[in-house]
């Protein structure tokens, strides 16, 4: 029996965490002599006040949706996949290979092909730690985080020594051909009469991310496999007794997880940069952990949390552009939100649970008075 009603669990806890983070952030901004109200206004207008702002917010949110889902599905199997970063990097490599070396006739085919490659590369990168966990008991947290470093090194080697165009200094691939250019929200919304900003990078992969959210919801709560994953996550021994193979579930959950992280690359590599640069993921893999925690590993929660973090990123960029708040303090503000919503969850949850318990006890009929 849950102590709190559902609405308190999903709405009240994150909301109070956010307010706490906002108060602390305001103190930080006050401390360096800036006006917190103006700063918040600037963040809100910059991130949500125009289609341009929305374009960037949704672009970042798309990244975080993929990585948030990646962490979520692994969470359901009680696997802590910290390797989203590396898996997304490898996904980027898959996208780059697909876009550069296959002559696609149309973007829609390129999108399908690149998505498949991204998922394949990401899944393969997650499969190795998964195998080590399932067969050898090497702890997945350690192996996935190590694989992030290996991925960075592999990508660096490939970009510097193999895929960098001759004469270019930037460790990046050549630009993808025009046929692989994904339609942006501007292109998508123009036919229905919405004039979305042209400059913003949000693109059709947002829809892919939303589709992935729905797919994951169906998978987790409406299929036998999802049931097995959840059962394994709740209790490994019970799952084993019920005939569920731990090796199979570990592998499948991690492969799906890696594939989702890899698919992030269609947004940042194919949709935005249109070439593979070093460090294309920029920590989105790690933000995904916070997104999954805040979204309670539920696809819809992940969707909302991703938009919140997209807002923080874009709002933070606007702060950096138009105020003298230094970059480091903007990171502090973003980190405070992550800290409160992700790591300090219980700080809000426990007192709230006590309050709700108190209310319920006060309302509950006295057990000493049997009815008639």
């Amino acid at each position: 029996m849950d102590v709190m009603p559902k609405w308190a669990e999903v709405v009240l806890v994150p909301l109070i965490s956010l307010v706490l983070a906002a108060i602390l952030s305001a103190l930080v901004i006050l401390g360096i002599g800036e006006d917190p109200v103006a700063a918040v206004k600037l963040m809100v207008t910059g991130a949500l006040g125009s289609t341009y702002g929305w374009g960037y917010t949704l672009y970042y949110a798309t990244n975080f949706m993929f990585t948030g889902l990646c962490v979520s599905i692994a969470f359901h199997a009680r696997l802590f996949n910290i390797g989203g970063e590396g898996q997304a990097m490898l996904g980027g490599l898959g996208v780059a290979l697909a876009c550069l070396y296959i002559p696609w006739p149309h973007w829609s085919l390129a999108l399908i092909g690149a998505t498949a490659m991204a998922a394949l590369f990401g899944a393969a990168w997650a499969a190795i730690p998964a195998f080590l966990q399932a067969k050898r008991g090497s702890h997945i947290v350690i192996t996935t985080i190590m694989f992030n470093f290996i991925a960075a090194a592999v990508l660096n080697y490939i970009l510097v020594n193999m895929m960098r165009p001759k004469g270019s200094m930037d460790p990046a691939t050549a630009r993808f051909p025009d046929a692989t250019k994904l339609p942006t929200l501007h292109d998508l919304l123009a036919p229905i009469g919405i004039n979305f900003s042209k400059a913003a990078p949000a693109n059709i992969s947002l829809l892919v991310a939303v589709a992935a959210c729905i797919f994951l919801w169906v998978l987790i709560w409406r299929t036998r496999l999802g049931y097995e994953i959840r059962a394994y996550g709740q209790s490994e021994s019970a799952a084993k007794y019920a005939g569920i193979s731990p090796v199979k579930i570990t592998m499948i959950a991690m492969v799906i997880s890696g594939a989702l992280a890899g698919m992030m690359a269609i947004n940042n590599v194919m949709g935005e940069a249109e070439r593979l640069v070093l460090n294309a993921t920029e920590g989105a893999g790690f933000i995904g952990i916070a997104v999954a925690l805040m979204g309670r590993s539920h696809p819809f929660g992940v969707f909302l949390a991703a938009i919140l973090f997209g807002f923080l990123y874009q709002g933070g960029a606007e702060l950096a552009l138009w105020t003298s708040i230094p970059r480091e303090l903007i990171v502090v503000i973003q980190a405070l939100v992550i800290l409160f919503t992700g790591a300090l969850d219980n700080m809000v949850r426990m007192p709230l649970e006590k309050i709700f318990l108190g209310i319920r006890n006060a309302r509950a009929p006295k057990p000493a008075e049997p009815a008639e």
Partner: protein, 331 residues
């Protein structure tokens, strides 16, 4: 609905304040950050010098993510900033996309070439400056072993290493060069602890002069070299002052001059391709009161001779990036 009006009102206010700052120059720092004691900081000091001399102000932003490159360029251009100066080769691609959309705005990119009618590209011959400090390193070394610590393993840093190695071998053909890169990710630009460890490792291999071309990582290299009693060589900015008498010299890359000049020229400046080498004072080595006692007259004479030869073209230092090979060092 009232909330929406509030947002819109606030948006209008921001737009107005942004408009008030019209025609200010803007400076965009690369991901390394403004105070890296090296490349970006040099750019900042150039802009600072311009601001102090003219009493005007400039806009600036330190990037946090790759996606912000294009975003910052467009935002500044749309807000009317002119010229827009950016540090770092990584802007090349983004600027190539953006420059055409804002023909009225002048862009200056430092460390990369972008071919557009409204762009001034400033590049430095880092291999020439590194060659000079390589000569000094070889002459100052007693163990005949010198070290090089690079930041991230990219062609640009190999260009530094290659020029340095050529200088070392020119002064002492028997010298051994120990070269290490700090890492393969951008964090290698800002990892003084690892810089310190690499310095100790190179000392154990006999190196007694170490050249750090590693951004913020170099701070750790210089510190450890000073602690262990060997010499070090700074990079980009003049870093001699950081450990007086322990830093042999610094390879100067006058990013500050390039930024200062760009802001001084202002809108309507001369565009095109701008190579800053030894010949026009774009690169060089640092002499000041902190290192005058450790640089012998003999050393200075040899370096100045080489410098003159490079300037008039009689001495060619091989540029690693011209063909991705280095005759003096293998990576």
């Amino acid at each position: 609905m009232t909330l929406m009006t509030k947002f819109l009102g606030a948006a209008a206010v921001t737009a107005l304040t942004a408009g008030a700052a019209l025609a200010e120059p803007a400076l965009i720092f690369d991901l390394g950050g403004k105070f890296d004691k090296s490349f970006n900081e040099a750019a900042f000091s150039g802009a600072q010098r311009w601001a102090e001399e003219t009493g005007e102000t400039f806009r600036e932003i330190e990037l946090q993510s790759e996606a912000q490159r294009e975003q910052a360029l467009r935002r500044f251009a749309e807000a009317g900033s002119n010229p827009i100066v950016m540090t770092g080769f990584a802007f090349g691609d983004a600027l190539g996309q953006v420059a055409g959309d804002y023909p009225e705005t002048d862009f200056v990119i430092i460390g990369m070439v972008v071919d557009a009618p409204n762009v001034r590209s400033v590049v430095f011959n880092e291999h020439e400056g590194s060659y000079l400090v390589g000569i000094m390193a070889a002459m100052a070394s007693k163990s005949n072993t010198v070290g090089f610590i690079g930041g991230m393993d990219i062609p640009l840093i190999r260009k530094f290493a290659c020029g340095y190695a050529q200088g070392v071998l020119a002064a002492n053909p028997d010298a051994t060069i120990v070269a290490n890169m700090t890492g393969t990710t951008p964090s290698a630009w800002n990892d003084p602890v690892k810089g310190s460890e690499l310095t100790k490792a190179q000392i154990s291999q006999g190196a007694d002069v170490i050249y750090a071309a590693a951004g913020g990582t170099g701070v750790g290299v210089l510190q450890t070299a000073a602690d262990e009693g060997i010499l070090s060589i700074g990079v980009d900015s003049n870093q001699n002052y950081m450990h007086p008498g322990k830093v042999l010299t610094s390879m100067l890359k006058r990013v500050d001059n390039a930024v200062y000049q760009a802001m001084k020229d202002g809108p309507g400046m001369e565009k095109g391709f701008n190579v800053m080498g030894i010949a026009n004072g774009g690169v060089g080595y640092a002499m000041d009161e902190f290192n005058k006692d450790i640089v012998s007259a003999d050393m200075k004479a040899v370096v100045d001779e080489a410098s003159a030869q490079i300037a008039d073209g009689t001495l060619m230092v091989h540029d690693y990036m011209s063909d991705d090979t280095c005759p003096a060092l293998s990576f």
